[in-house]
């Protein structure tokens, strides 16, 4: 759609389009920074989660050797967030939300997993946001939206499943917190399984509204979450029901192969 009145008309358009070019360049630079930060944050969060899977107790502070491994990854995450925080201010928070959402979700997964290991509770959205902004230590604040929080919790259920099953295979018994924050013994009837079930219930009853991307991601993740809960339930049933007729230290076959017939009893 070019103007056709000779050469005089082109110069006002040139400056306008140069202005457009500058705005677009800035926009794309910001987007690229958010995407790169999101990738770095995702990688570091995954490493934190791998390290946290080595924890064998619930309800106590993470052991020294593991927290020494995770600390540098946390530093990477916070510095990546701090670098893109200026790009996510005001209106741009939603503009680049889809670019940073991967990193935010993985970060949510990591800190909610650690919070659960330490306290056997689900971290609230406000607390997660506060932890992020505290870690960044910059003026600009990053918000954790409801969608990112929820999607991060979905991923965390998968990690809880892995944690429960590895603990049952190594330590034996379904993980539950036996001491409160001060180290005193508590009588606790909540276990990883019961918490998983409750969380899965809450997530399932959430109506994702008409936000297309969130609804699609949430429904996919819900399927995985329900499978995770199912896996832990089967493992616990196997441990309790079939473990009582086997010698001590026996572990049920936790693979998905068809089960053998039970012999006489």
């Amino acid at each position: 759609m070019t103007s056709n009145d000779g050469g005089e008309g082109t110069s006002p358009y040139m400056s306008i389009f140069e202005g457009f070019r500058n705005e677009l360049d800035q926009h794309h630079d910001r987007r690229e920074r958010c995407i790169k930060a999101s990738r770095d944050i995702t990688a570091a969060s995954k490493k934190i989660i791998f390290a946290l899977q080595r924890v064998r107790t619930l309800g106590s502070v993470i052991p020294e050797n593991i927290s020494r491994t995770t600390q540098p990854y946390y530093d990477t995450i916070y510095s990546s967030f701090a670098a893109v925080a200026p790009d996510l201010q005001g209106l741009n928070a939603h503009r680049y939300a889809r670019n940073i959402t991967g990193g935010l979700q993985e970060y949510m997964e990591a800190i909610s997993f650690q919070y659960y290991l330490e306290k056997q509770e689900i971290i609230t959205r406000e607390a997660a946001e506060a932890q992020l902004n505290q870690g960044m230590q910059v003026e600009a604040r990053i918000a954790i939206g409801v969608e990112d929080y929820i999607l991060g919790l979905y991923d965390m259920t998968g990690e809880l499943m892995r944690f429960a099953i590895t603990n049952m295979a190594t330590v034996g018994g379904v993980p539950q917190a036996r001491h409160d924050g001060d180290g005193a013994e508590i009588s606790n009837t909540r276990t990883v399984l019961s918490d998983l079930r409750e969380l899965s219930f809450r997530l399932e009853t959430l109506d994702s509204g008409s936000d297309f991307h969130f609804a699609r991601d949430a429904s996919k993740k819900l399927v995985v979450t329900k499978q995770s809960v199912d896996k832990v339930e089967r493992a616990v049933y196997g441990l309790l029901i079939r473990g009582s007729e086997r010698p001590k230290g026996w572990m049920p076959d936790l693979s998905d192969a068809p089960r053998e017939e039970i012999e006489g009893f």
Binding site: I16, T189, E198, R234, L240, I241, I262
Partner: protein
């Protein structure tokens, strides 16, 4: 899940559970038959025949939390409250989106009317007469965008959150306006002139980034 079904499901699970805070007993109850039927039937008789049944069932009851006062109830209550807040927020956001879409659909039908008339330009009809009808529609568009602005004022600072719902229709509008302007004057429509025609004060500079590329098509 459809809202009506979900509410019914929620109420159903709440009534069946002995303790409303822990509705997962229901899921415990209905997953158990699935497991037993996939195993051999001997498992059921084993489970009911053993003396260890009592101790097993007490452990299992503990896991199903049929009588849970001993655990920390505050975490479950705060979780419930948090999710109720989320539910409210997501519903508000959903209803806002529906209202935006309603206005946007009217914008789209108006642009279709304008486009239908303007297409005749390619059949070498005299231009000035053709432009009269679409020009009248601009007034309608102005009023529709006003309504859109009113709806969007409910979520200040979230321009880009719902941007996707009205972005492509607005691109079409601007491209039509620019085409009409060019038919009349042979000059490119300026960003500010487009804003004036639509009476939009809420449009931002970034608006132009997405609309002018549409002109080339």
């Amino acid at each position: 899940m459809r809202p009506a079904f979900r509410n019914a499901y929620l109420n159903f699970s709440r009534c069946l559970s002995p303790n409303p805070k822990f509705p997962n007993t229901l899921s415990f109850l209905h997953t158990f038959p699935t497991i037993s039927t996939s195993q051999s039937p001997t498992l059921i008789s084993f489970w009911f025949g053993r003396e260890t049944f009592r101790s097993l069932s007490s452990t299992l009851c503990c896991y199903s939390m049929a009588g849970g006062e001993a655990q920390a109830p505050h975490s479950s209550a705060s979780l419930e409250k948090q999710f109720e807040d989320f539910h409210v927020q997501l519903e508000e956001s959903g209803s806002l989106r529906d209202r935006i879409r309603a206005v946007v659909m009217e914008i789209e039908s108006t642009t279709r009317l304008m486009n239908a008339t303007l297409l005749l330009v390619h059949q070498s009809r005299p231009t000035p007469e053709l432009l009269e009808k679409p020009k009248a529609q601009i007034g309608v568009l102005k009023e529709l965008y006003n309504r859109l602005a009113v709806v969007l004022r409910e979520c200040p600072g979230q321009y880009y959150r719902y941007h996707g719902d009205w972005r492509s229709e607005t691109q079409t509008v601007v491209s039509l306006l620019a085409f009409m302007h060019w038919l009349e004057t042979g000059i490119l429509l300026m960003h500010s002139e487009a804003e004036d025609k639509l009476g939009c004060m809420f449009l931002l500079p970034y608006f132009c980034l997405f609309t002018f590329p549409a002109l080339v098509s």
